[in-house]
């Protein structure tokens, strides 16, 4: 049998198009990632897989490192919302520092090193050789460093500076630091199940979104809304009302 362009076109439609449809039905075509980090051979969550998109709450959940420890060790605002603050948000708070190796940005890898030292989970960084002075002091105060580690890190510190000098003193500071408000807060990470758990009824859901509650309730509400072509901001405000 001779294969022509039209056959290839059909094969593409059937194999790729049909395959995606079938995989979607079988829940094997998720374009959003699984949030949990991978585990080490010992069965603990690997520090290397800590991500910039992980919130402080997720760090607490997976690594058992309390959000308050990170907040204190890095000099973040005490009212920082662990549910909203992502590790990558740090780069919007701290000024990059000039070190011998070049410009260094306090971000995910800095937290990885901190977590590794604090929880004694092995992690060798290829970019963080210095830590903020405040972070090292916090580790020492909490007796988390061995003699050797203490000697090294005390000699490899830098001073943390805030990009905005009013970061600590302002009464409010951007959306990434939100005090827990009373009532329902719908964020980008709120799942449909969480809405139902809060007490949103099927009728209310349908009234606000115009759609029935999907079978997959663990998907984020934001993704659901965006998939339906709606504006997330508008819809979540309706829930607040």
């Amino acid at each position: 049998m001779k294969i022509k362009s039209i056959h290839i076109l059909l094969a593409i439609i059937i194999i790729i198009g049909g395959g995606i449809l079938l995989a979607s039905e079988l829940d094997l075509y998720n374009t959003t990632r699984v949030k949990s980090p991978r585990k080490t051979a010992e069965g603990i969550y690997d520090v290397i897989d800590m991500r910039g998109s992980h919130t402080l709450e997720e760090i607490e959940k997976y690594y058992q490192l309390s959000a308050s420890s990170v907040i204190e060790a890095f000099g973040l605002r005490p009212d920082t919302n662990p549910n909203l603050f992502q590790l990558k948000d740090m780069k919007e708070i701290f000024t990059p520092v000039e070190l011998e190796e070049g410009e260094y940005i306090v971000e995910t890898d800095t937290v990885k090193v901190f977590t590794s030292l604090y929880l004694k989970i092995p992690y060798v960084s290829d970019e963080t050789f210095n830590l903020p002075e405040k972070t090292v002091n916090y580790l020492i105060e909490n007796d988390k460093l061995t003699g050797e580690e203490k000697e090294y890190w005390q000699g490899h510190t830098f001073k943390l500076e805030y990009l905005d000098s009013k970061y600590l003193t302002a009464s409010e500071f951007s959306k990434i630091v939100v005090e827990e408000a009373e009532g329902l807060i719908v964020t980008g990470r709120t799942t449909i199940q969480e809405l139902l758990d809060y007490g949103i009824t099927e009728e209310k859901f349908e009234e606000v979104t115009g759609f029935k509650i999907p079978d997959k309730k663990l998907v984020s509400f934001r993704d659901f809304i965006i998939d339906k072509g709606l504006e997330f901001g508008e819809v979540k405000d309706k829930f607040a009302e």
């Binding site: 094969a11 995989a23 959003t32 965006i226 997330f232």
Partner: protein
């Protein structure tokens, strides 16, 4: 002539569709970051719709049951779908689907207009042939280093990601440099990234050795006009092969009797072994064309 142009349009249409799809994915990513609702489809990341992501995470998936950072289940599923397509038809993904290959090809059309017959023939064979294996070294480096680090290192020099996410701060200078060099190179060489550097093309190219639908040349009726060699974007020596199993074939069909080859049934994609129905025939089309070329005086 009209018939050939029509059939070329099928591949062109497929290429444009996938190119437009990736542009839409990219646009939606941007809109999503601006807090705007995505258009038509959701806002999957570029990594989520790239099957190579599935390849680089394969080790982590089978050893730890997890995907590496930035890679999603969709990449993994797409990887298996593309493997199936490639097993059947060869690297159709490269020749028909890959939007980066399409961009290279479009730029190549400008190069062809500028340099005419010299286009795609600048690099001497002695340098060109060994360079074609460079992509296998890159494939090994990418897969091994990704397995060790658990990070998507390839995106640091991936020109596909740089091109379709050029507005993002995630794009590295190195990948922009690779992108720039590839686009400039496309003016001189057809599909330079695919030929020399693409690790995914390297992997799919291996399927050419055992794919189900094979590109076959019927020696008995071939008139050795070498038109197939001239149109092949990957410079494969088709006119001397019986079955084209070159690891660089991208199943574009340009060389076949559907498009370039002037002799019917001389060069085509075949699913099953054929008995060369015309080879013993007195009405041999190859013989007829040979006669017309030689003026029938031989």
């Amino acid at each position: 002539m009209i018939k050939n142009q029509k059939k070329n349009l099928i591949r062109l249409a497929v290429q444009i569709c996938f190119f437009a799809l990736i542009i839409l994915v990219s646009l939606n990513q941007w809109r999503s970051e601006q807090g705007l609702a995505p258009l038509l489809i959701g806002s999957p990341s570029l990594h989520a719709v790239c099957p190579f992501g599935g390849v680089v995470t394969i080790y982590t998936y089978f050893t730890e049951g997890a995907f590496i950072q930035k890679i999603h289940q969709s990449s993994f599923t797409l990887m298996w779908l593309i493997f199936s397509l490639t097993l059947l038809l060869g690297p159709v993904f490269c020749g028909w689907v890959c939007p980066f290959g399409t961009v290279e090809e479009f730029i190549g059309k400008i190069g062809r207009k500028i340099f005419k017959k010299r286009y795609n023939n600048f690099i001497p064979s002695v340098i060109d042939k060994p360079l074609r294996y460079l992509r296998y070294i890159i494939l090994m480096l990418v897969v091994v280093n990704t397995a060790i680090s658990g990070k998507l290192l390839f995106s640091n020099f991936d020109p596909y990601f740089a091109l379709f996410k050029i507005w993002s701060s995630e794009v590295t200078r190195l990948s922009l440099l690779v992108l720039g060099l590839t686009l400039i190179g496309s003016l001189f060489v057809e599909r330079p990234w695919c030929k020399y550097l693409c690790p995914y093309g390297a992997l799919l190219g291996i399927f050419n050795f055992f794919r189900i639908v094979k590109l076959k040349r019927n020696e008995k009726i071939c008139i050795n006009c070498k038109k197939c060699d001239r149109v092949c974007p990957m410079n494969i020596d088709i006119s001397t092969s019986k079955t084209v199993t070159d690891h660089q074939c991208i199943s574009c069909l340009l060389c076949t009797d559907e498009i370039a080859c002037p002799v019917s049934n001389s060069l085509s994609f075949s699913l099953l072994e054929r008995k060369n129905p015309t080879e013993n025939s007195e009405n041999d089309s190859g013989a007829k064309i040979r006669e017309s070329i030689s003026g029938g005086g031989k």
